[in-house]
């Protein structure tokens, strides 16, 4: 076992090893829990959920590596989902509306990044405020109940259906498109995080901002870009949310998603102190929550215990991680 761990750690870091084991164990538990859990449909459900959580986890993971944090993700998802419908109702073509929703995320990222770097505010506080503000905006934008795709003007319906098909329909490979989208995004971010100058810089900043500063790294620019990546992913998440769920209740859509995303990134090896993490780990970490949800469904566990289970899995992951750190 020790050999496997050390052999693997040379390749991908021991932290990734832990999450691989956890995902494998949870997946085995799920498959063993019920024959129906082994159905192709169920695999598709997991893949769909993974695609959605994965996008958010990757975004916040990159930000966490740089030493930041974002608590506003869930609210940005809600605002994005509501905005898509509202923009279409205002006469924006759905393709344009989709683009605008993602760009709105980027804009929020710039705002967060500027507040954190130029005004030197704490990331936790800035994004905590964002959590309230964007949720409030989502509610204000939809005074009468829940905006839904049904409210989109009829001439836009085909375009909306196209978007839905592209992102959630079947695909030539027989996997949901959203999973393909996630993998493409992961590939891009992997190059950015693990091979680019920007990636080097965020690892240096996250672990030791002062040392990066003394080495002439443009700290503010890198940090702002990390916030932009995170919130752009959240904006994309909002788009995925509305297309998948068809309606978005502004009071609850996307609630707690920031915590799920952070949990996934942390279990996947991102240290909240910054400077550690990998894209592969984030992808695996993102798979944990969908697996836990399915285990609850198929294992006949009370729905009310969902949070308990999530908390315990996170705790177990942290303990295992700590033991591995000590051994190394």
């Amino acid at each position: 076992m020790n050999n496997i761990v050390s052999g693997f750690s040379r390749v991908a870091g021991y932290r990734t090893f832990g999450v691989i084991v956890m995902v494998a164990v949870l997946y085995a538990v799920l498959l063993a829990s019920d024959p129906k859990a082994r159905s192709w449909d169920n695999q598709m459900t997991i893949a769909n959920r993974l695609g959605f959580y994965g996008v958010l986890t990757l975004g916040v993971g990159v930000l966490i590596i740089s030493g930041g944090i974002d608590l506003s993700i869930g609210s940005v998802v809600a605002l994005g989902a509501v905005s898509f419908v509202m923009l279409a109702r205002q006469g924006f073509h759905p393709y344009l509306a989709a683009l605008l929703v993602v760009l709105m995320g980027s804009g929020i990222g710039i705002a967060n990044g500027v507040l954190v770097t130029k005004l030197r505010l704490q990331p936790f506080l800035v994004t905590l405020c964002g959590l309230f503000v964007f949720r409030g905006l989502a509610r204000w934008l939809s005074p009468q109940g829940s905006p839904g795709l049904g409210q989109v003007p009829s001439e836009f319906k085909p375009a909306v259906e196209n978007l839905r098909y592209w992102l959630f329909g079947g695909s030539p490979l027989g996997v949901p498109q959203v999973l393909i989208l996630l993998l493409v995004l992961a590939a891009i971010l992997a190059v950015l995080v693990h091979w680019s100058v920007f990636g080097r810089h965020i690892f240096a900043i996250g672990y030791n901002e002062q040392a990066a500063r003394y080495a002439g790294v443009a700290i503010d620019r890198c940090k702002i870009l990390a916030y932009v990546i995170c919130s752009t992913c959240a904006g994309l998440g909002g788009l995925l949310y509305i297309l998948d769920n068809q309606t978005a209740t502004p009071t609850s859509a996307g609630a707690l998603l920031e915590l799920y995303a952070i949990t996934g990134a942390v279990i996947g090896g991102c240290s909240l102190r910054g400077g550690e993490g990998s894209v592969l780990g984030m992808l695996l970490g993102a798979a944990l929550l969908p697996l836990i949800k399915q285990i609850i469904i198929f294992g006949g566990i009370s729905n009310d215990l969902e949070y308990v289970l999530i908390g315990l899995v996170l705790l177990a992951g942290t303990i295992v991680d700590q033991l591995l750190v000590k051994r190394n």
């Binding site: 190059v191 091979w195 680019s196 100058v197 920007f198 990636g199 080097r200 810089h201 690892f203 240096a204 672990y207 030791n208 002062q210 040392a211 990066a212 500063r213 003394y214 080495a215 002439g216 790294v217 443009a218 400077g275 550690e276």
Partner: protein, 514 residues
């Protein structure tokens, strides 16, 4: 002397990740003697003293007190046996009173009233202790209001309250003024007369000459030699400390010319957190200029301002005649680098290195734009650059991908310096370049500075190590409370002259050497 010595240490070893801090070190201490423990930074002095103070446990070796073997597993255990360690960075709670600090952790209660403080007894005892160390202060004075020298004396009073028979003082004068230092000497001599044994750690050799009855010299974690009172002098101490010919240790092959071009010009500069009085000086191509001063004299702050870490509020900085900062232009580390000015920061773990990352990562960090193609780092180029620097600086590491935090202090420091040498900088500011570095790596860093100056770079060496300031500098700028107190050309460089300026004296008062 008859009977066993008060304290005897035999064959102490201590290993830290990457360094053998102590290797078979032995030491003897008699009552009523002042023993100086001398050595370069990283020689193991502080480690040895922390073992005696109960902070570290040795890997091997024996400690005898009055001839009986003892264990020192904790600070409290050491204090019970009468050994008190006074740290370089004082350990006092600034928000509490003197009396509260002296009795911290051993507060006295009113008889029969559990937990109710007996202030009268504690204050009375504190007054007696303060009188013994010559401090005329109320026991209720908040420690935060005291001067550094007074805090040092409070620490000593605290040690006395523990009935210390052995008092270990680690660099006690590093932040004291001259008069405070004199006061401290008097207390040391009083303690000695009272039979207390004092271990005095310092790298200010003229202090050692003055106070020590005997000196033990450590080098790279080993006993390098011992000097009796009459043998203690500057030359003999230094020879034992560096263990080689001084000319070889402090190489000076670069020639300086008074007409060399001006590399760095600092014109009437003021900076955030600095004094109101502006500062001006110049560095010429091919010279090594020392910058001396007490801790807190503003040397690091000035360096940070020149490198763009701190904001300049007035004045100009020019590199080779081109404006780097001033007239509304702000410096940033990136711009300073581009202009050829680099800073090797004082605290390498905090400012110099990303410790958990590899040697190659750290060496390439400021050079990534040269290594990248389309924003992606080219691993082959990175390996080439890192390999070249590791070879050039003789960085001892098992591989380029070793975590830099696992290297020894000396090799870590070489990485900090090395990352700037991929391009030849025009001006290098070294802030405490050899702190916590072993003798071998020190010699290599000096040779490198000499070589850089020989290639026409200008080197500013900020250092509290007077030895290296005297040996390496072509001239020395001395700072006192942020102001330039004076400049000493090489011909007039002495330890005393530097200390005189650093503690507030002026050049005029200091006589020309006859």
């Amino acid at each position: 002397m008859a009977g066993p010595p008060l304290l005897e240490v035999r064959g102490i070893c201590k290993q830290f990740p990457g360094v053998r801090a102590l290797d078979q070190v032995s030491l003897r201490l008699d009552a009523g003697e002042v023993l100086a423990v001398v050595g370069e930074n990283g020689a193991g002095k502080s480690t040895l003293m922390k073992i005696l103070g109960g902070i570290y446990t040795p890997d091997a070796g024996e400690i005898f007190l009055d001839g009986r073997p003892v264990q020192l597993p904790s600070v409290v255990a050491a204090q019970r046996l009468g050994i008190s360690l006074i740290h370089q960075e004082l350990n006092l709670a600034e928000n509490l009173s003197i009396a509260a600090n002296i009795f911290l952790g051993r507060e006295k209660w009113l008889p029969g009233l559990w937990g109710v403080l007996d202030s009268r007894t504690m204050n009375g005892e504190t007054e007696r202790l303060l009188a013994r160390v010559g401090l005329n202060l109320s026991p209720n004075t908040a420690v935060g209001n005291l001067k550094p020298g007074q805090k040092q004396l409070v620490e000593i009073a605290r040690a006395l309250s523990l009935d210390a028979r052995i008092l270990i003082m680690d660099e006690p004068t590093s932040s004291l003024s001259q008069s405070e230092t004199d006061r401290l000497y008097e207390v040391v001599f009083d303690l000695k007369r009272a039979g207390v044994a004092v271990v005095y750690i310092s790298h200010r050799l003229f202090e050692v000459e003055r106070v020590a009855d005997r000196a033990v010299v450590l080098r790279d974690g080993k006993n390098a030699g011992e000097l009796a009172r009459h043998e203690i002098n500057h030359a003999s101490l230094v020879r034992l400390m560096v263990g080689r010919d001084l000319k070889q240790f402090y190489p000076r092959t670069h020639g300086t010319r008074a007409d060399a071009s001006i590399r760095l010009e600092v014109r009437d500069v003021r900076y955030q957190g600095g004094p109101d009085e502006p500062i001006s000086f110049q560095l010429r191509a091919g010279e090594i200029v020392g910058m001396a001063g007490l801790v807190g004299a503003g040397r690091t702050e000035l360096a940070e301002a020149l490198f763009g870490i701190r904001r300049l509020t007035a004045g100009q900085v020019l590199i080779d005649g081109d404006l780097l900062a001033g007239n509304g232009k702000a410096v940033s580390p990136k711009r300073a680098m581009a202009a050829g000015l680099v800073l090797i920061p004082e605290d390498r773990r905090l400012h110099g290195l990303v410790l958990q990352e590899s040697v190659a990562f750290n060496l390439s960090l400021p050079n990534l734009s040269e290594l990248a193609l389309g924003g992606l780092v080219q691993r082959s180029k990175e390996r080439h650059l890192a390999k070249g620097l590791v070879d050039r600086l003789r960085i001892r590491t098992p591989s380029l991908w070793q975590k830099v935090g696992l290297l020894s202090g000396g090799n870590q420091q070489k990485v900090v310096v090395g990352k700037w040498l991929a391009q030849t900088p025009r001006v290098l500011i070294f802030d405490e370049p050899t702190r916590g570095v072993d003798v071998g790596a020190k010699a290599e860093i000096y040779a490198l500075m000499d070589q850089l100056a020989g290639q026409g770079s200008a080197v500013l060496m900020i250092s509290s190590d007077l030895e290296e300031v005297l040996a390496m500098s072509d001239r020395v700028l001395v700072l006192h409370q942020g102001r330039l107190a004076g400049e000493l050309p090489r011909a007039r460089l002495t330890e005393e002259a530097v200390m005189h300026l650093a503690t507030g004296g002026t050049t005029r008062e200091w006589p020309e050497p006859s």
